[in-house]
């Protein structure tokens, strides 16, 4: 390891400690705000580290900096302004929106690395498996969270949306996802495999969230939040970056426990909620 790599790895480790301590502190109302602050400090350290890495390695093109800066600044302004302006009653849908883009970013990383290997290259399963998990889980959370945002804000009907043949369609979509997975693992790279995988996971996210009533949405958002954590962890496998793996797995596991607790607080089981359509429309909430 070069000095740069060693230092970066150590800083990433410290930032990972900040996330764990942050979650730990957030369990109590007295320390929750410090917890979030600590986790934000960890995030800042990770970002500064990657900026220094990119600068020193110097492989990035001017255009690369351009898209990073424009995309990053637009994102920061949009996210921060939205978060500052939103009325407190509309917070859940905003969290769901932020979760959607997180899943989207993870999926983009998977797609990028798959395409970067080039058309026709043969891949090891150690590379293709994390890529496909990343793209599929990221895709599901992206569309699923957007529908959840819509349901919470009223742009999509809060009533469970079901239609004849939904079950059959679900099965077909799952088969298509599995098919794309087999093609991505077993065959040489081809753009269309990953496009199919992404398109089908987006469909699955829609089909999964639409039949669930608006009143159950917070639990679903929490579950999708845990999914995004896992997608980010797999993105960490893809680009071989440990801070993504640690933070992603942490959110995946903590989010799962939180989802179970939220469902318990509503006297529902997660399986029951996901089955959907049990008279949980807005009128009942």
């Amino acid at each position: 390891m070069s000095i740069l790599q060693t230092c970066s790895s150590l800083v990433y480790l410290v930032s990972a400690v900040c996330y764990v301590m942050g979650v730990h502190l957030m369990r109590s109302p007295k320390t929750a705000r410090q917890g979030n602050g600590l986790s934000a400090i960890g995030m800042l350290m990770a970002v500064v580290t990657i900026v220094i890495n990119v600068l020193i390695e110097g492989k990035i093109t001017t255009m690369g900096w351009g898209v990073l800066l424009v995309g990053g600044i637009l994102g920061i302004v949009y996210g921060a302004v939205k978060a500052q302006k939103v009325p407190m009653t509309d917070v859940p849908q905003l969290v769901s929106l932020f979760n959607a883009v997180g899943g989207g970013a993870a999926a983009v990383i998977g797609i990028f690395d798959y395409l970067m290997k080039g058309d026709g290259a043969s891949l090891s399963i150690a590379f293709s498996l994390p890529v496909l998990l990343d793209v599929i889980i990221g895709g599901i959370t992206f569309s699923g969270s957007l529908i959840a945002t819509g349901k919470l804000s009223g742009h999509v009907s809060g009533k469970p949306i079901t239609f004849p043949g939904a079950r059959l369609l679900n099965i077909l979509v799952v088969i298509a996802i599995l098919g794309s997975a087999v093609m991505m693992i077993g065959f040489t790279t081809n753009v269309w495999y990953v496009v199919l995988g992404l398109a089908m996971s987006l469909c699955f996210g829609l089909l999964m969230t639409l039949p669930i009533g608006g009143a159950d949405m917070p639990v679903v958002v929490s579950l999708l939040n845990a999914f995004t954590g896992l997608a980010v962890a797999f993105a960490g496998f893809v680009i071989n970056n440990q801070v993504l793996i640690i933070a992603g797995a942490l959110v995946g596991a903590a989010g799962t426990i939180l989802t179970l607790q939220m469902a318990e607080a509503m006297n529902r089981s997660v399986a029951n909620i996901l089955a959907g359509g049990f008279g949980t429309g807005d009128s009942d909430s």
């Binding site: 492989k59 690369g64 898209v67 978060a83 932020f98 979760n99 426990i257």
Partner: protein, 106 residues
């Protein structure tokens, strides 16, 4: 299995266990802020956005890198801001069971 993959897998599994352990029973009022706080943490995907932007070399890759950076930046900036705002509500509210104490009447 390469050494690198094994290390990553070990880190992944142990981090999952830490995630399960660090999350004990939390009060219902903290569930939404906790969800939002965890949501902000997975914004660390922005590190990945930098990694792919550093490798991009064609129009398609620049477009992907742009969306990666934009999405991740929204996640990080928005996630931490909104969580902090939510938790700020707790600071202003008097603590339950402790409100209208003698201190207020003097």
């Amino acid at each position: 299995m390469s050494e690198e993959l094994f290390t990553n897998l070990a880190i992944f599994v142990l981090s999952l266990l830490v995630g399960f352990e660090v999350m004990s029973k939390i009060p219902a009022t903290l569930q939404t802020p906790m969800m939002s706080g965890a949501n902000a943490i997975h914004g660390v995907v922005i590190v990945g956005a930098f990694v792919i932007a550093a490798e991009a070399n064609s129009t398609l890759f620049y477009i992907l890198a742009f969306f990666g950076a934009f999405f991740a930046a929204v996640n990080v900036a928005g996630g931490y801001t909104v969580t902090d705002r939510m938790l700020g509500m707790f600071d202003r509210k008097p603590k339950p069971g402790n409100n209208a104490g003698e201190g207020d009447q003097k």
